[in-house]
Amino acid sequence: MMNNKMSFTILSRSENEHFARIVVAAFIAQLDPTVEELTDIKTSVSEAVTNCIIHGYRNDPTQEIIITVELRDGEAWISVQDFGEGIEDLAQARMPLYTSKPDLERSGMGFTIMENFMNHLTVYSIPGKGTTVEMVKVFSKTIAVVK
């Protein structure tokens, strides 16, 4: 199975949320995912990028977000990185319905959606330095081939 990698940088503008998820979906298309798998990935990328913009950079549209996608043995490893304010309490942040910004009509479901839609989710964060979200999708086709 072919391994492949790509990376791109976007400004922290909300217009780029749509761009980021379709670019990632287009790259992953070479693994021939199902429609549902593609939706899972698009939604998870959208969650991660939106978090960088709203929380990491507090809606400052001039900062940078780096998105990397690696295809390894039929799995997609996606990382979304910001250099913003970081997360003090990761366990609390990942709890369903926890949000630090209820006033902005956030529901605190972003991490829960990523966890449910992807096979693995790892969050690295250093307060004051930034946050990296790493997500892995294992495709049903890959599982069939391995079996």
Partner: protein, 117 residues
């Protein structure tokens, strides 16, 4: 691709039909439009129709929960209808259906609100 939104008021029920993609970028406009239309039209209840929504993330959840709280505090009801499977999963995960009534289509939603065609 953005979000298009068609709204009309029928017997004091505001029907909101969304088409396209509902994310953080498009959510703010949608929120403003619903709040504004509800005031202008003097509607009491809201029906949100998701049939032609091709994408939604947690930003959409925020808009739905937000309108739900607002309309309940004013004595009205919010009903969601025609939810595609991918969005249905997100609603289920969030516990939305524990508080917000969900029906199959607009007609059933109007029925639920006691409004006849």
């Amino acid at each position: 691709m953005g979000l298009a939104c068609e709204m009309r008021c029928k017997n004091r029920v505001l029907i909101v039909r969304m088409q396209g993609e509902l994310d953080h970028h498009t959510a703010e406009n949608l929120r403003e439009e619903i709040i504004q239309q509800k005031e202008l039209s003097n509607c009491i209840h809201i029906i949100m129709n998701f049939q032609n929504l091709s994408f939604m993330d947690s930003s959409g959840l925020g808009v739905v929960f937000g309108r739900f709280k607002q309309i309940r505090s004013q004595g009205g009801e919010l009903v969601v209808c025609s939810v595609p499977p991918s969005i249905h999963r997100i609603f289920e995960m969030s516990g939305l259906y524990k508080v917000v009534p969900y029906v199959n289509n607009e007609e059933a939603a109007l029925d639920f609100l006691g409004v006849t065609k």
